[in-house]
Amino acid sequence: MITFNQVHKRYPGGYEALKGVSFDIAEGEMVFLTGHSGAGKSTLLKLIAAIERPNSGSVLVNNQNVGALKGGALPYLRRNLGIIFQDHKLLFDRSVFDNVLLPLQICGFDHRESAKRVRAALDKVGLLKREKANPIALSGGEQQRLCIARAIVNRPAILLADEPTGNLDADYAREIMAIFSSFHQVGATLLISTHDESVLQDSGVRRLILKEGVLQ
């Protein structure tokens, strides 16, 4: 589903974020991406969503060479991905409901179908009662769950999560991980970056470990 082949990524200024990274994630697999901050986890996720492009090597998503996609094709790649951003990227000028609605508006769903899907996604993350609230009134854990609801409302085949339990205490983190497990069970492919040891301990999930841009 996701294949990296000798991927190098160098930022302007000479900083090398990834040095010859190769791996393969099968369809329906759940994988943790770990490593210290600055190890290149965020860069790796950005390459999958074509937010950044590799300097050499190839990134394949669904057998498509993402690095070579033309600008006009990018939106359709991203619609197959559910991305949970480290900084949430929620919109505070609209309600919880409208935040989750945005991906469906972009894909052009009709109104009634959209409302049904938004409520289903909010229900899955336990925010159905807060649909009229402004996201700014939500706690950190709730904002994180809202971000997950927005990422899954479009039912993407692949979920990418960048430090989804970053600033949360252990209980919240476990809750979030339980939500991810439930997606894994219904067949989604997940790549979750984290440095949260408490999350990693109790799972037999495959781990990719990055250290200074090199896969261990």
């Binding site: 937010i51 600008g71 939106p75 991203r78 619609r79 990227k89 919109l91 109104h111």
Partner: protein
């Protein structure tokens, strides 16, 4: 088809909501556009009116030939034949001096004064209707006729109309220049409005790009906003011009009455009004398009 239509309608509704959310700022923009457009539109309307007046007057140019006072009847007859056979003349009418005096008496109400005259001061005259031609050929004909034996003077009645026509051409060029400049101003106003909107919606645009919005999806509401603002500005301009016309006509009515005339300004025709609105919609759309093309690419990610 209906789904696509519903989507566009949804965008339009959101745009109108946004426009009416910022009542004062939105209204001021529309007012600026309206005033900017009403200047050339108003001048155009005045020119159209003058144009109509000139067309009425210069439709049938005439050359009046006044004969020598001592012209004899056979000279007059010979001249009549000469004129009738002239290739550039469509028709000739003869006004005998007695007949001319009678007309003068009736039309001016100066009969007492005229009756007191010892002799008729008016000469015999021909009214020549030339075949259609431009101002130069008419003037040439006038010169030619003036040299005919027995003719004292030849007057081209529509000469001033041609001068007015030239003046109108000058005015039309002025309107064109003014319209071009103010169109640029309209584009600039829209450009800036959209730029500010893009800045305030920076986060929304970035997130939308990240979750798979096409450029068209992101551009659409801004283009609709520009076009809608242009349309409302155009409507505003139409009202400014029409209300000004009504105010002017009120005064003009009193003035025209003093000259026993029915002259009134005509409003913009349906076609001209439609052109005004379409043009302002297009300019608003263009300003928005330029602004979006310039500013959207600056918002990452690519």
């Amino acid at each position: 088809m209906t789904r696509a239509f519903a989507l566009h309608l949804g965008v339009l509704r959101a745009v109108l909501r946004r426009m009416f959310a910022s009542k004062l700022a939105g209204f001021l923009n529309i007012l600026v556009i309206g005033i900017a457009l009403s200047l050339p539109a108003g001048m155009y309307m005045l020119l159209q009116n003058a144009q109509g007046l000139v067309a009425q007057l210069s439709d049938a140019p005439q050359i009046s030939l006044f004969l020598e006072m001592n012209a004899k009847a056979e000279d007059v007859d010979r001249l009549h034949q000469q004129l009738a056979q002239h290739p550039a003349v469509a028709g000739v009418g003869f006004v005998a001096r007695a007949q001319a005096l009678e007309q003068l008496k009736q039309s001016t109400g100066l009969s007492d004064l005229i009756s007191g005259l010892e002799q008729n001061p008016l000469p015999d005259a021909f009214v020549v209707h030339p075949k259609p031609g431009d101002a130069q050929s008419l003037d040439r004909l006038r010169g030619e006729l003036a040299k005919l034996p027995g003719v004292k003077e030849a007057q081209l009645d529509s000469a001033w109309a041609y001068k007015l026509e030239a003046l109108l051409k000058f005015g039309r060029m002025g309107v064109l220049i003014l319209a071009s400049l103010l169109s640029l101003a309209l584009i600039a106003v829209t450009f800036n409005t959209i730029r500010l909107q893009i800045l305030t919606q920076h986060d929304e645009i970035e997130v939308a790009k990240l979750i798979g919005a096409t450029d068209g999806f992101i551009r659409r509401p801004f283009l609709y906003f520009g076009a809608t603002q242009g349309l409302l500005g155009g409507i505003m301009a139409w009202f400014i011009v029409t209300v000004s016309l009504l105010l002017l006509n009120g005064q003009l009515g009193a003035l025209a009455q003093l000259y026993a005339s029915q002259f009134m300004l005509h409003p913009l025709s349906f076609g001209d009004s439609l052109s005004l609105l379409l043009f302002s919609v297009y300019l608003g759309w263009l300003g928005a398009w330029l602004s979006v093309a310039r500013h959207l690419s600056q918002i990452g990610p690519r």
